[in-house]
Symmetry: C2
Subunit: 335 residues, 2 copies
């Protein structure tokens, strides 16, 4: 049933700026022993998210950094292979919030969630039915209090959270404009995901086009990237616009000071800016499952996965995601 070893990537060094391959080290450790009220999961897929980068750095944040030498933090999908826990049996499929970059993980169930493949395929529980989709849902519904009459601007529109946010807003009836990097992503967001429009932030005419598309200004900006794209978006907001700070991928690798236009639009447009973390909003999790499964069934939400093969690919897949080379939710298949 099991191999003898657990294969793991541990954090070998704290990345300075963009992580390098050498910041991660492949090791083999003995398989953890299943004790009372625990169960062993064989990971089959690792779900990558830009926010994991935050845990690789020291300094104050919302969470303790991963100690050097510890397994790299990540979500995983896997199958229970041995259990001494009454709620989990061999064969159960689970998503583990802290499954980590490893082939096996021992769980006490506290960060586990069973996967219901009658609602969506297993991998989707790492994406739109998982943290990515729930993050988009909580940010729009609870933080921005999105209404059908709102116009929404969303950055990283082809990413896991951005593509969910735009499609949720569309399902609700909003006008949705995306921002993505490169013409291939822009075309995908516009033509496949069906956003009303999408702009390429690498284009020389990006800022002008943004203002043209924004008209009197966007009511809500769902920000996944921070940095210069956010700064451009700030100036394209409507008075009393709402900005949801969901992610800041362009700032995660910063080693020095960022540059920006200052906060003048926040003052003159009376904007509200709200940072949030998905984990503070578990009270709406049931509503999310209900709504999202209905949207997936009706085809209103399309699932976009960027599947990379092989455990050894984890570091490069993570680095590629941080530099925007992915297309949808980055999943590394290791089964």
């Amino acid at each position: 049933m099991c191999e003898t070893f657990n294969t793991q990537f541990v954090l070998a060094a704290r990345p300075v700026g963009l992580p390098k391959i050498e910041d991660f080290k492949l090791i083999r450790t003995p398989l953890p022993r299943v004790e009372a009220n625990t169960f062993l999961v064989r990971n089959t897929m690792i779900g990558l998210a830009p926010a994991s980068r935050i845990r690789m750095s020291e300094g104050p944040s919302y969470t303790t950094p991963t100690p050097l030498g510890d397994v790299v933090y990540s979500q995983s999908l896997g199958e229970v292979v041995e259990s001494a826990h009454e709620a989990y049996a061999p064969g159960d499929l689970v998503v583990l919030t802290d499954g980590g970059w490893q082939t096996y993980v021992l769980s006490d169930g506290s960060s586990a969630q069973k996967v219901d493949t009658t609602i969506a395929p297993a991998s989707v529980w790492l994406g739109v039915m998982g943290v990515s989709g729930f993050t988009a849902y909580a940010g729009l519904m609870k933080i921005a209090s999105l209404k059908p009459t709102d116009s929404l601007l969303v950055s990283a529109a082809s990413g896991a959270v951005g593509s969910s946010a735009g499609q949720i807003a569309k399902a609700i009836g909003c006008r949705v404009v995306g921002i993505a990097g490169g013409q291939q992503k822009v075309a995908h967001v516009r033509d496949t995901l069906g956003f009303h429009d999408c702009l390429d932030y690498r284009s020389d005419t990006f800022a002008d086009e943004l203002h043209t598309l924004g008209g009197d200004g966007f009511d809500v900006y769902f920000d996944n990237v921070g940095g210069p794209v956010r700064d451009a978006a700030l100036t394209a907001m409507a008075n009393f616009g709402r900005i949801v700070v969901c992610g800041l991928i362009s700032e995660y690798n910063n080693t020095g000071k960022a540059t920006g236009p200052g906060w003048m639009p926040i003052l003159t447009k009376r904007l509200s800016v709200q940072g949030f973390l998905m984990r503070d909003h578990m009270d709406i999790r049931e509503a999310f499952y209900r709504d999202m499964s209905a949207w997936i069934r009706s085809g209103k939400i399309k699932v976009l996965e960027d599947i990379v093969e092989g455990f050894d690919s984890l570091p490069i897949a993570f680095i590629n995601m941080l530099t925007g080379k992915n297309f949808g939710k980055t999943l590394v298949r290791i089964g």
Copy 2:
């Protein structure tokens, strides 16, 4: 009763960066004629506010810029000298929101407010009983929903709005820490205004002291300055802290890009940031007059005025205020 001429400062050039004396031009024009439903006011005092700088620049903002050649926008205090308006009679003291840098002004009453010197001396109606005090009150009460258990950090603590904000918060029972520029202002804020503490942002140890004083972090930051001081304050906030963006004096003169640490603390601390303009909150104006007059009577709010003599001093007084040379509300006496 009246001179023959109206003496005015008009905007001669749009300032680039910090305004220069030559950006303003002194002219004489005929006195305006009093027609039906208007009245003529002889200005005795001009109240200066940093936000007037915003109107001197072109580009999108919350208000139309002052056209070149027009009188410089400002509040004024004056006496009605001639009236064809049923609600105003010669001898009435009024504050005019748009009184301007001029010796006389014709009003239709729409931006006028009668001054009640039984509550506070006339000049105070340009300061803590006027826009400065009301701005502080609206920002704390309505935008930040200040509670007695909150700790408050306030920048430009010796300025007109900052000194009002800190004293209002103290009157409510909050712990209040100020930020000011230079030891003289710091001592004043701590010893005379009675803030619990005050820090000098020019000190090399400012950021460290801010974190020490903040303890687990400030609940509310009332920002009047923006720029590097705001960036330091961001990192000293408590989780779920609230930031009121009232003013950005350090950014008003910006011609290029500002620098800053990015928005990471907004995300990781789940901060809320809310820009606001006093004029959107007139619904609480009566509550303000009631509370502020009680606080002034009981000595809980001290009035701090920096009075400059002579109409010709207007440009230099304005420039000095923008560079932080003032001490309390800057008033130019022209009577």
